[in-house]
């Protein structure tokens, strides 16, 4: 199978996908009720798309294409309302967050669809361990080569996105010490990590057909890269974020990515270099482990600072682009995260009150369903 041609999309348009947790209202463990939720939701027309995911304790919401923060928040709000209403009708709570803190992966049930069964057969227990919840952000690109350029330039900021969205400190009943433990589950997939350093679409097509000839992959979907091109949409897809605890933060992070993309496309004249990736996994680990307190090494200057400092500096650098994109609201959300902490610190603070994970998840779902 060859790669489909890169579709055209409006540059800097954005779309957001959020994977959400479905919980029972007794002890707030995951509940395998995705089919019930989808059946209920299908009765009425709604904005965007609501889809099943790998296991039945998950559900995914997709927005349509947006250009600015306000309309994105609006659509996410309406999606939140649709999902929350269906949840209340079925006595199911819905929450953000990158992991469920105490679910048992072995108790998860694969959603009944050919692709999920195929993945489950292929990956075995990894498929059930993939009951983790991420935010994916699509950025429209003027063309395929521009997409690859943007993808590699954007990789410097991947730790920003991880640290800002991090909301998965608890796994299987314990504090992992990570701000985002979710990504550790992604890294166990054979085709995870970064995209190969290829800068023209022609070369990328060559890479892709070589890979399909080996029989390792069938489609772009088989790559679990941190950022991957999505030719059928004409976008690049940033896939490193945890699903934040609120839709407002999800929208803000999407617009932060959008503003950085505009900065890269318009202001930054540099070309990506293979050596940019020398610090990539170090920085990414720091972001996963320590969140905003993590160390960030600039790939070009090799200067060390905390991610919080680097993000703060980036906010001033992209301020004008944010104004152009009408994303000021998003930028103040981001600075608020720098001041008050990300989802992981909210979860830890909530847990510290009486050390009850069920209680924490209840508050987490109240936060998601009722908003900030």
């Amino acid at each position: 199978m060859s790669l489909m041609p890169f579709a055209s999309s409006e540059p800097l348009s954005i779309g957001v996908e959020l994977e959400l947790q479905l919980l029972n209202c007794n002890d707030y463990d995951l509940v395998s009720s995705a089919p019930d939720m989808l059946r209920r939701i299908a009765r009425k027309t709604h904005h965007g798309e609501i889809k099943p995911e790998m296991t039945r304790g998950m559900i995914e919401i997709n927005t349509s294409i947006h250009h600015e923060y306000v309309s994105l928040v609006e659509e996410l709000n309406s999606l939140r309302k649709t999902v929350s209403d269906a949840g209340r009708f079925l006595n199911i709570a819905v929450a953000g967050g990158g992991t469920h803190p105490f679910q048992h992966w072995s108790e998860q049930k694969i959603f009944d669809a050919p692709r999920f069964h195929y993945l489950s057969d292929l990956y075995g227990y990894l498929a059930k361990q993939f009951t983790i919840f991420g935010q994916h952000v699509h950025i429209g690109c003027p063309g395929p080569d521009e997409a690859l350029h943007l993808l590699h330039m954007m990789s410097r900021y991947v730790p920003h996105f991880i640290a800002l969205s991090a909301s998965s400190p608890f796994v299987q009943g314990h504090d992992t010490g990570f701000a985002s433990a979710r990504l550790n589950s992604v890294f166990s997939f054979p085709l995870s990590g970064r995209a190969p350093f290829v800068l023209s679409w022609e070369d990328f097509e060559r890479f892709f057909s070589k890979m399909t000839e080996t029989g390792v992959v069938e489609s772009m979907k088989d790559f679990y890269w941190d950022i991957r091109p999505k030719p059928e949409f004409g976008t690049i897809e940033v896939r490193v974020c945890d699903t934040p605890l609120t839709i407002e933060v999800a929208a803000a992070i999407a617009c932060y990515i959008q503003s950085i993309a505009r900065y890269i496309m318009i202001d930054q004249k540099d070309e990506p270099r293979e050596d940019d990736y020398l610090v990539y996994t170090f920085n990414r680990f720091q972001a996963c482990r320590f969140g905003l307190e993590g160390v960030f090494i600039d790939p070009r200057t090799h200067k060390r600072r905390t991610l919080r400092e680097d993000i703060a500096e980036m906010l001033t650098r992209i301020a004008d682009h944010a104004v152009e994109l009408q994303a000021q609201g998003a930028m103040s959300q981001i600075s608020k995260i720098l001041d008050t902490g990300n989802g992981a610190s909210w979860l830890r603070k909530t847990y510290s009150h009486d050390h009850n994970l069920s209680d924490m998840v209840q508050q987490q779902s109240d936060l998601w369903m009722n908003g900030q």
């Binding site: 019930d36 108790e107 209680d359 998840v361």
Partner: protein
């Protein structure tokens, strides 16, 4: 000193209590065997062994009057009712009126279908009404026990628990009203037939409210320690039972509403051990075994047709409304079918209502009471399997399936 002063005398005279203890051990072993080799619910083993060893079977254990067992059943059922209440989210009814509607329809359909059936069999009006109201209740014991055992979770499970709690409440209330009419027939003033149920409902609700809030407060400050809980709960059940008999209220209604209040007024999610710890679990096993020992099968011998029709009509009356309203209340037809079937169980709550009625009306004891006892025996053996199949069929159990 003679030999006989320190050696046992042959033939040994064994206290019947030994057989009882043995029955319990065998029941537990058979229960485990059923799970391991046939994947059947343990309850079937507990009841089955009781039935086999009791007067209705091999007669190894001499018959004890039902009143001897009463304390045991009261305690175990109290635990299970409280447990059921604490698992049920009443707020759901506000968000999904269809469930409330399904529950009301299912219960009234059961009442009228059974009532009509008994009239057709020429049973007196009042007696038919008493039996019909008893038939409204789904067995909280079998439902809670099967759900706990299969670790089920999902729409069918949650609706089953909610609708069981609700139809138990309806059944207890309707039963009191119907019994009041029975008294009325034997010559009481009308005012009492109105006042008695009102007093019962109001009084039980107030006590339930007090217990529920007290339990929550104590739990909040003492935390989750198994023994604390067990003591607290047994104390509460004992007080509720004594208060109920002193004040002439229903202990069952008090404990069920106490559980509901605990869940309704909780500030933080908390889960309790199954049957609130091992002491509770032992009582529950004992109760099922005892109900096999107490079984009276004369109803099956004398009026098999009526017993079978009663079970059939009652089950159909519960299933049909659930199926009809499934789509509206947000579940699929398959889930509706499972839910309707899972509402069939009849067990200790029915037994207690039957015994209460029989104690006051000897005619009932020798007539419809025996029919009901036979229905209970059959359903105790069959309905746990039905519930388990329903929950398995909808993929809500956690028994090593993907």
């Amino acid at each position: 000193m003679t030999l006989s002063s320190y050696l046992p005398i042959w033939p040994l005279s064994v206290s019947p209590a030994l057989w009882l203890a043995l029955a319990l051990v065998i029941a537990v072993l058979v229960g485990e065997g059923l799970v391991r080799y046939l994947r059947l619910p343990r309850i079937v083993g507990y009841v089955g062994v009781g039935l086999l060893m009791g007067p209705a079977g091999l007669n190894l254990i001499p018959e004890l009057p039902a009143s001897e067992w009463r304390l045991l059943v009261d305690l175990a059922l109290g635990i299970l009712l409280f447990e059921l209440g604490s698992k049920v989210n009443l707020r759901w009814l506000k968000a999904n009126l269809w469930i409330a509607f399904t529950s009301l329809l299912e219960s009234s359909a059961t009442f009228f279908a059974v009532f009509a059936l008994l009239l057709w069999f020429d049973v007196a009006h009042v007696t038919s009404a008493v039996v019909a109201s008893i038939c409204i209740a789904t067995s909280p014991a079998i439902v809670v026990r099967t759900v706990t055992e299969s670790r089920a979770q999902g729409q069918v499970t949650e609706r089953l628990l909610l609708m069981t709690a609700l139809n138990c409440i309806y059944a207890i209330i309707c039963h009191k009203i119907a019994v009041a009419f029975m008294y009325d027939e034997s010559g009481t003033r009308l005012i009492h037939t109105v006042l008695q149920p009102l007093y019962l409902i109001g009084g039980s609700a107030i006590l339930g409210w007090l217990f529920g809030n007290a339990f929550n407060t104590i739990h909040l400050h003492l935390g989750r320690h198994e023994e604390t809980f067990s003591f607290l709960l047994f104390g509460m059940i004992a007080i509720a039972t004594i208060a109920a008999s002193t004040l002439k209220l229903s202990p069952m209604l008090i404990l069920l509403s106490a559980g509901l209040i605990v869940r309704y007024r909780r500030r933080r999610p908390h889960t309790f051990l199954p049957h609130f710890g091992s002491a509770g679990a032992v009582l529950v096993v004992l109760m099922f075994t005892a109900s096999g020992l107490m079984a009276n099968l004369s109803g099956i011998r004398d009026s098999l047709m009526m017993v079978l029709l009663l079970i059939l009509v009652r089950t159909a009356a519960k299933l049909t409304p659930v199926l009809l309203l499934a789509k509206f209340s947000g579940i699929s037809l398959k889930q509706g079918l499972a839910l309707g079937i899972a509402l069939a169980p009849m067990s200790s709550l029915t037994l207690l209502l039957t015994l209460d009625t029989a104690a006051a009306f000897p005619d009932f004891a020798s007539g419809m009471g025996l029919i009901l006892m036979s229905c209970i025996v059959i359903l105790e053996l069959v309905s746990p399997i039905m519930v388990q199949m329903a929950l398995r069929g909808t993929g809500e159990t956690l028994e090593g399936r993907s």
